[in-house]
């Protein structure tokens, strides 16, 4: 199992923990990852809000590199995954976009590289049975609210990732890890995404309602697969608590960090020290499962 791994810009900064845990999980499960040489930014939200041509060409620069590698592209950042798939769709469906991209890249790209999210690869290519066999520890009944956010599932016609209103992929992984995945209504709500710096007020408002629902649903942690969701939900608890009345201490972890723990890696190998809200409750539960 070999894939061209597109880490995305945050993997080198705010989501180093996502990258670190992704690489650990891949190593343990025999998934071979090769980075496209000189990969570049997908353009993110700023790209598509600014210019249609930038929004297609920036992802296409990477997709074209992966086409030369003759591999599928594997992405873990939900935002990059979204931009890659939307660009593929735009290029394949609109000849004028393809022509623009050709001029920008000085080569043709037809939109045909298969873009896979890590979760899809885990469920479809590796399989739950193989994953379960590789576990050394369990989540030991940990109550997890799986949070998918926007970009994994929308737009549904292009992403085709799970059920867009009530996805189950992360929940299935939590279940085989021995955790208790919670039914809760905020799985695909928006955290405010890229407005973190510009409209912190909006992000604080949206994350507060998500955190509130997670607490009320009995969650001991929130599991995510998007660096923007992770940072907003983790970082903004401080701001919400400061406004008074609330005392959130909800760990917000990447699903790959949970998988890594169950596969036997230590917290320091999975970037747990980078969380703003510490995940001591998770580590304690998993640790206890090893001494059953």
């Amino acid at each position: 199992m070999k894939y061209a791994y597109y880490p995305g810009c945050s993997a080198e900064s705010t989501a180093r923990d996502m990258n670190q845990s992704t690489l650990a999980v891949a190593r343990a499960l025999g998934i071979e990852l090769q980075e496209p040489e000189g990969w570049t930014c997908c353009g993110a939200t700023a790209g598509h809000q600014t210019d249609r041509m930038l929004a297609a060409s920036l992802p296409a620069a990477n997709l074209a590199k992966v086409q030369d590698m003759k591999l599928d592209m594997l992405v873990n950042c939900a935002a990059c995954y979204n931009r890659m798939k939307v660009a593929n769709h735009e290029i394949a469906a609109h000849p004028d976009v393809r022509q623009n991209v050709r001029e920008a890249l000085d080569r043709d790209y037809d939109g045909s590289v298969k873009v896979r999210h890590l979760i899809e690869v885990l469920l479809e290519d590796v399989g739950l049975q193989t994953i379960t066999k590789s576990f050394k520890r369990s989540l030991n009944g940990l109550k997890v609210a799986c949070y998918y956010g926007c970009l994994l599932v929308r737009p549904p016609g292009i992403m085709k990732f799970d059920d867009p209103e009530n996805p189950q992929s992360l929940d299935r992984l939590v279940t085989v890890m021995g955790g208790q995945s919670l039914d809760w209504p905020c799985k695909v709500e928006c955290c405010g995404g890229g407005l973190s710096l510009t409209r912190t007020d909006v992000v604080v408002d949206l994350t507060e309602s998500i955190l509130d629902m997670a607490v009320q649903s009995g969650a001991e942690c929130i599991a995510v697969s998007c660096p923007m969701c992770q940072v907003n939900l983790d970082l903004r608890q401080q701001d919400i608590n400061k406004q008074g009345g609330k005392h959130y201490e909800m760990p917000v972890v990447y699903i790959t960090q949970l998988l890594g723990l169950c596969l036997g890696f230590g917290p320091d190998e999975l970037g747990f020290e980078k969380l703003m809200v510490p995940a001591a409750n998770i580590l304690k539960k998993v640790e206890a499962s090893g001494h059953e």
Partner: protein, 188 residues
């Protein structure tokens, strides 16, 4: 009730949005599913369904200064749930591009400045340099010390990179940006 002032430029805005988004505005029958699902609707004066109707009725450039345009987080819930299959999020993207082009007033939070700083950093390094773009944005807004109390902890935890990214194929990215500016005859 929605009322609009008809202006000479009104047809042009509606047509531009149609052209940029590929959306047929006239099939919207105002079920307001977009407004109901919109996470920021409770925080804005003009909700998504109102934007759709204002456009259809031929509103002019005053539409470009509505608060939803830059409060929208691009979550795409509106597009996903529209029973008529209207890509409302694409309409919002079109309105943002037109707001920049037609020099609409700077919105609260100045997202356009953030987007420029973001893309500048990509143009320069080939990848996002978070520290650099945050500094550029904060300098631009004149609120350098706003929301910075978490930086020491983030730096200490290695949660944000201090140095610019390296190793990106900057040549290709420069070419893309050059094409994008050439195509628009102005700044990206």
């Amino acid at each position: 009730m929605i009322t609009i002032k008809r202006k000479k430029d009104s047809r042009a805005l509606k047509d531009m949005v149609k052209e940029l988004s590929g959306v047929n505005l006239s099939v919207c029958f105002q079920c307001k599913k977009c407004s109901n699902g919109c996470p920021v609707a409770k925080l804005v004066v003009t909700k998504p369904a109102e934007i759709m109707r204002l456009l259809h009725l031929g509103a002019g450039d005053e539409l470009l200064s509505k608060d939803l345009i830059w409060t929208c987080a691009s979550c795409e819930t509106c597009s996903a749930r529209c029973p008529m299959g209207i890509d409302v999020a694409a309409v919002m993207d079109a309105l943002r591009r037109l707001a920049i082009e037609r020099k609409a007033p700077t919105p609260e939070g100045n997202v356009p400045l953030f987007n420029r700083a973001f893309l500048k950093s990509v143009e320069k390094f080939g990848r996002t340099y978070e520290m650099g773009l945050i500094t550029a944005y904060k300098l631009g807004t004149g609120k350098l010390m706003n929301d910075t109390e978490k930086f020491p902890a983030m730096l200490k935890k290695g949660k944000i990179a201090l140095l610019p990214p390296r190793g990106a194929d900057r040549k290709t990215v420069k070419r893309i940006f050059k094409k994008s500016q050439a195509g628009k005859g102005g700044k990206a």
